[in-house]
Structure formats: C-alpha cells, structure tokens
C-alpha cells in the first residue's frame, strides 16, 4: 500500500422510521440490514437501533444509523427524540390500509414542523406483494409526495422488492459531499499501518 492511499470517503447519517403500527417498519429495516423476513414478527417495543452501510458509485461509503420506532400509540412520545436531529426519515404506510396513509401524512406534517429543516423524507408504501388487497392507489400517494417534495417508493419487505432502492435514493439526496468535507477538515490523525515499529528491542522479553 502506498503512502498516497486515498482516504476512504465516508459519511454517516441518522435515519428514523415512522408510521402506524403493523405497516412493516421493522420488516423493512430487517430486510435492508439482514436481508431476512419473519412472518411472525412481534411488535417493536420502544425504539430499536440498527446500522447498515451502503457503497455508492463514487467510492463513497454511507453509513445509516437507523432508529426503528414503535408504531403503537403508547410510544408516541419517544418519536420526537429520534427524529429531532435525524438527517432522513422513512415514513411507511401500508398500501392495503387507507388509514395508514393518513397517519403517514400526519407524521410528515409533524416532521416538517418539528424536525430539521433539511431533513430528507421518503414516503414508502409497504406490502406491495398484497397487490390484490390494495386500497391506496400509487397515483394518489405519489401526487401527495410530489406536492410535498418527498421521495416516493412502493416496496415489499416480504419479497425484498424496492427495499435497497429506498435507501440508495435517500443516500443520493443526502448532503454526502458536505459531510465528507467537514469530516476531512477536522480529520483525526490517522494511524499509518506502514510505519516502522517504534518499539525498541530492549525491554520486556515477551
């Protein structure tokens, strides 16, 4: 390895999942992080924390710190703590439940009011595999997303359709370059693995 080895371009963002209970927030995260799906997932308690890194095209690594909040009413008071300084939010609704879209809209309004002004919001419709029971048309949700300047996807955590897309599209929207620049400017001294050892031969024999 040469000394001119380029410093790996790395950025880290806080992401929060919001939405009504049982729309599949945890399933989406597990599909994204562990690429697994559990038919009988128990409902989340409080908020779960997971991380996942993705590689973008231009040699950039983006790490998501994901806070998967519980959708139940009981844990409503926790949400503000997690979206307060989040860089991006995935607001999930269930395409087979019209009411869940309404709840998602409420979350979006709350985010626009309370969260960071430059937060990236992705409106995500889950359970695409249950196309037959669809209640929310793609057009309606998409129109709402366009009107409010949100990203919009429809995904299926069960089949894995579109899951990675959501996170990649979010990563494209995020101010990756800015963060890399700011970390570079205050970059910590890095350890040079090629440096010759400073240990002298004297001393301890072990």
């Amino acid at each position: 390895m040469s000394i001119e080895d380029p410093i790996p371009r790395f950025a880290q963002f806080k992401l929060v999942l919001l939405g009504e209970s049982a729309v599949g927030k945890s399933s989406i995260v597990h599909r994204f992080v562990k690429d697994s799906f559990d038919d009988l997932r128990e409902s989340t308690i409080g908020a779960a924390f997971l991380t996942q890194t993705i590689k973008l095209a231009n040699d950039t690594t983006v790490k998501f710190e994901i806070w998967d909040t519980a959708g139940q009413e009981r844990y409503k008071s926790l949400a503000p703590m997690y979206y307060r300084n989040a860089n991006c939010a995935v607001v999930v609704y269930d395409i087979t439940q019209l009411a869940s879209l309404e709840r998602a809209k409420n979350w979006i309004k709350e985010l626009q009011r309370q969260a960071n002004a430059d937060i990236t919001i992705a409106l995500t419709g889950n359970k695409l595999d249950l196309e037959a029971e669809r209640e929310v048309s793609t057009g309606e949700a998409q129109q709402y997303a366009i009107d409010n300047g949100l990203l919009f996807c429809e995904v299926s955590a069960k089949t894995g359709d579109g899951i990675r897309d959501v996170f990649y599209r979010i990563a494209e929207q995020l101010p990756v370059e800015e963060q890399i620049r700011s970390t570079m400017s205050r970059s910590k001294p890095r350890i040079n693995l090629n440096k010759p050892s400073t240990n002298t031969d004297q001393g301890c024999a072990c």
């Binding site: 806080k14 308690i45 409080g46 908020a47 779960a48 924390f49 991380t51 710190e65 009981r74 844990y75 008071s77 926790l78 703590m81 997690y82």
Partner: protein
C-alpha cells in the same frame, strides 16, 4: 399626659427659658426666687431674665446646682400644666399644628413619623385580634419575619393580624367595631394593606362630576326648538304643495288652457294663505344680509316664513326654487307642476333640508375601518380592566390561603387576562398595518394607536407587577398545578422513557459483546437524552412522581 404633643411643644421642658407664648387668661404666678407676683408666664420669663439673670453672682449661696434643678423642675411642671389647658385662646402657630390632629386632616397625620394613639375616640374592639402563638410570622406578604421581642409583635387594629413593628407603622382612625371611620374614630396602629385600602386613599380615579345629563337637558331644549321649527316649515311646504296640486288638478280639467293666468293668481293667493306675509313697511333691511331695500335691492317674501328678504344673487339670501327640487329632497310629497318656482330664503332652506341631509348622511356612511377597530379596542379595554381587578382579587386570595381551588382560579383569570391582552395588542397592531387613506385619517389613527400603546403598557405593566409580587411570595406558584389527567399522562410517558432506557442499556451490552463498538456512541448519546427527558418529567411531576 393625654394630649398629643407635637414637636415644638416637646422642646419646651428641655430649655430653661420657654419660648412658647402664653395664653392670655391665667391665674397669678409668683417668681420662685423673689416671690414677685406676675400675671403671665411671659412676664415671669421677662422678670427672670431681667432680675435674676446673674442670680448666681448676686447671691452665691442661694442658687446651687440643686436650686437650679428645682427651678427647672418647677418650670417644667408649670409648662406642662399650662399646655394641657391649651385649647382656650391658642396662639395661631399652635392652632395650625393642632389642626393636624383634627379630623379634617387624617392622612397628613397618618404619615407623620412618631404619632401616638389618641384615646379621645371610642374604644376599639380587640375581639378580632389574632392571639400570638409564640411562633408567628409577620403577616405582611413580603416580610414573613419571625415575631419576637426584637422584631415586635403587633396586631393590626383593623384586620387583627400579627405584624412586626416595621409593618404596622401606619395610623388610621377606627370606630369601636374596628372599621375605618375618618370622622369620629380613634387613631389606631394598622398594617399597610389596611391603610392602603382606606376608601378614597388609593382610588386613582379621583372625584368625578358627571355633567352629561345637565348638558343633555339644555342641549335637548335647543334641539327640540329646531325640530319644531323644521316641522313647521315642512308642514307649510306640504300644505303649499297640496294647495297647488288642487289648483292644478282643477286647471287640468278645464278645456281652455289659456286661462292659466287665473290659476297663477290662485297660486299666488295660496302662497299668502299658507303663511302670513310680513307687510312691506315692516322692514327696511334684509334680515339676512342687512342690505337696505331700495330701487336696486327689491323686497321679496319668503314663501315659507313670510319674512322680507332681498333677492341678491351674490348673498343668495333668497332664491326661486322649483317645487320639484324641494319635494325630491324632502320625499313623501309630489308636486303636480314641478317646474313652478317659489321663493325660499336661506334660513328656511337650511332649516328645511338640514335634518334630512343629516339623516341621509348618517344612513349612507359606514364607519371607517379604523373607527371600527377603535370601537373594538374600547370594548377590550373594559374587559381587561375588569379582568385585572379579578386577577388581583384572586391573587390576594392565594396569598391568604394557597389552596388548590384559589390557585386554579388565579391561573384561570391569569389565562383570560393574557388572552385578552394579546388580542388587544394584535388589534392595535392591525391599526398600524392598515393603509392610511388621507391625512385626517392618519392623524386619528396615530392618536388611537398612541392611546392603545399607553393602555397596553400601563395595564400590561400592572399585570406583570401583580404576577411578580405573587411570585416573590411563593416562587413555586407559577408552575400550574397538574390535573389528575396530566399526572397520569406524565407518569405513562416517564414509564415509556424508563423502558426505553433499559432497552438501550441492553443494546449497549449486546453491542459490546458482539464487538460492534461503532454502535455504542449513538446509543450512549441516546441514553443521555433519555436521562435528561426523565429528569424533566420527574421535575414536572414533583411529589406526584412514583
């Protein structure tokens, strides 16, 4: 000594030569040294100065220190016995001082530095006095000193509460039932709040004398007179028009219209019938412009009042007005021949049309926006003043006994007050934003705005002061008492946060076990946030926590 002794008189016994002038009628006195009889203290004084000024030199043996003391003691006794009889024939200076204690000047005395209770009035009841328990605090809200020998422990004679010396340094006159009675009460020691609550003491409104009804009655007389005059004129005009219509109707029925000249004559006669014309000889000058009638200034009769006026175009003392125009303005009557002209003088024209014009204008004109705002502002002002009084009363209640009910009431009235003050401010600001239409408007607007600003500052300041006063007494009061529902919700929230803290703790442990150290910092951050939140809620709950 029973009488109140004011400054100058207390000095008297301290000096050997009393400077006070003596009353006229006095029993005979005698000099203590030579036994000479004198008529007044003044004479004695003079005698002592003249004859015995250097007595010690003259008779060295007679006036020892002891004798001097005797002399001063005797003088003191005399002065005291004289001053106690003072009321008859008081010298003017003393009368002035004495008037301070008279009922006409109660407040002047009340602020004097060291007044002493006057026992001349009725005995004030002590039944309502609070008995000292040995562990009392001054009842004055901002004092709360422990009452003991040093701080003093004094009952306010009026409210009966216990205060320290400092906070009962006020005097007011009370009757036997310990109620304020400025005329024949007894001077009593009282607390500041009793003193301030004397009727008429802090009433900033001052005396008002409503002269409106008086004005209205005198004004009404004039208005009525003018109304009568207008009615008269209207009646005449209506009568005139009716007569003309009659004549015209007859005329129309005729076959030969060229006899119109006869109808014209009839109309002229009708004009004279409706109102008696003044005789031509009765006036030499126009009664409006005072021009002398002559060859050029012709005499004319006003058809409505019958007086003589000139027909000058310049002064427009009288004009020939088409009947149609008059009827149109008046409304209600219709002339068959609207082109027929009658002469009407300026005074009658004004009298006839002024009222109608005024009513029409009032009906037509809508209040301008800023006046509407002003109207609303005054309504708000009344409300705010009432609310402020209520709020103050509730604060006093809270200070008295800080029960839940009184605190809730105080908070409620505070909320209302804040709301109406905000509404008032908003309304006043809308005045600033509104686009001015003309120079007159801007002036009025400016004045209204100025008034509103003053009112807002005055009452907002009052409100703040009351609030601060209360906060000083009970620093923990401003936090509104939590309702049961709020407590339940806060507890639930606290439970959720604690649960989450536990979960995060577990997550940190797992992350450590699985060597995922990069996950630990955000988790720790979150744990800190959660701790802070828990702390906040616990503080909010206070003793209502778990």
């Amino acid at each position: 000594m029973k009488r109140r002794v004011l400054g100058p008189r207390t000095d008297v016994p301290d000096i050997v030569v009393p400077p006070t002038p003596k009353p006229q009628h006095e029993p005979e006195l005698e000099c203590p040294i030579c036994g000479l009889k004198v008529l007044s203290m003044h004479q004695l004084n003079r005698h002592l100065d003249d004859e015995h000024a250097n007595a010690s030199e003259e008779v060295p043996g007679t006036l020892t220190g002891e004798n001097v003391e005797d002399l001063t003691g005797w003088l003191r006794k005399k002065v005291v016995s004289q001053t106690s009889k003072l009321p008859i024939g008081l010298p003017s200076k003393l009368v002035k001082l004495d008037s301070l204690t008279s009922p006409e000047y109660p407040s002047l005395l009340a602020t004097s530095p060291s007044p002493q209770p006057d026992t001349r009035g009725p005995k004030v009841t002590r039944k309502h006095w609070r008995n000292p328990s040995g562990n009392d605090f001054c009842h004055f809200p901002r004092c709360r000193k422990l009452l003991n020998v040093r701080n003093g422990s004094v009952n306010c004679r009026r409210c009966g509460e216990l205060f320290c010396n400092e906070h009962t340094a006020f005097r007011m006159k009370l009757d036997s039932l310990a109620e304020y009675s400025p005329v024949d009460g007894t001077w009593c020691r009282c607390c500041e709040s009793c003193f301030n609550s004397k009727p008429g003491y802090l009433d900033t409104d001052g005396a008002t004398r409503d002269l409106f009804t008086q004005f209205q009655t005198s004004r009404q007389r004039i208005v009525d007179q003018q109304g009568l005059k207008t009615n008269q004129l209207e009646n005449r005009l209506v009568k005139l028009v009716a007569r003309f219509n009659e004549i015209d109707l007859k005329d129309e029925g005729r076959v030969f219209k060229f006899f119109a000249s006869s109808s014209l004559g009839q109309k002229r006669a009708a004009e004279r019938e409706v109102v008696a014309w003044a005789s031509d000889a009765s006036a030499t000058h126009c009664h409006l412009c005072f021009k002398m009638f002559g060859v050029y200034v012709r005499k004319h009769h006003c058809r409505l009042c019958g007086k003589l006026v000139c027909g000058d175009e310049m002064t427009a003392c009288s004009k020939e007005v088409p009947l149609g125009k008059l009827c149109e303005r008046l409304g209600g009557v219709q002339a068959r021949d609207p082109q027929y002209v009658i002469r009407v003088c300026l005074g009658c024209k004004d009298g006839l049309l002024k009222r109608r014009n005024f009513i029409r204008e009032v009906e037509k004109s809508e209040l301008p926006e800023y006046l509407q705002i002003y109207h609303d502002l005054t309504t708000y002002e009344k409300v705010i003043i009432i609310l402020l009084k209520k709020f103050q009363a509730s604060l006093v209640l809270v200070q008295g006994e800080p029960l839940d009910s009184t605190i809730i009431a105080a908070n409620k009235s505070r909320g209302k007050l804040v709301e109406s003050l905000q509404a008032y401010e908003k309304l006043a600001k809308s005045l600033k934003v509104a686009v001015p239409e003309g120079s007159d408007d801007t002036k009025i607007r400016h004045s209204i705005l100025q008034h509103a600003t003053w009112f807002f500052q005055e009452n907002g300041g009052k409100f703040k002061r009351y609030w601060l006063e209360m906060a000083e007494v009970k620093p923990d009061l401003p936090a509104p008492k939590l309702t049961k529902k709020q407590i339940r919700e806060a507890r639930e929230e606290l439970m959720v946060y604690r649960e989450q803290m536990f979960l995060i703790g577990e997550m940190i442990d797992t992350a450590k076990k699985q060597r995922r150290f990069d996950e630990i910092p955000p988790l720790l951050d979150n744990l800190r946030d959660l701790e802070a939140m828990c702390g906040d809620i616990e503080a909010k709950l206070g003793e209502d926590g778990f």
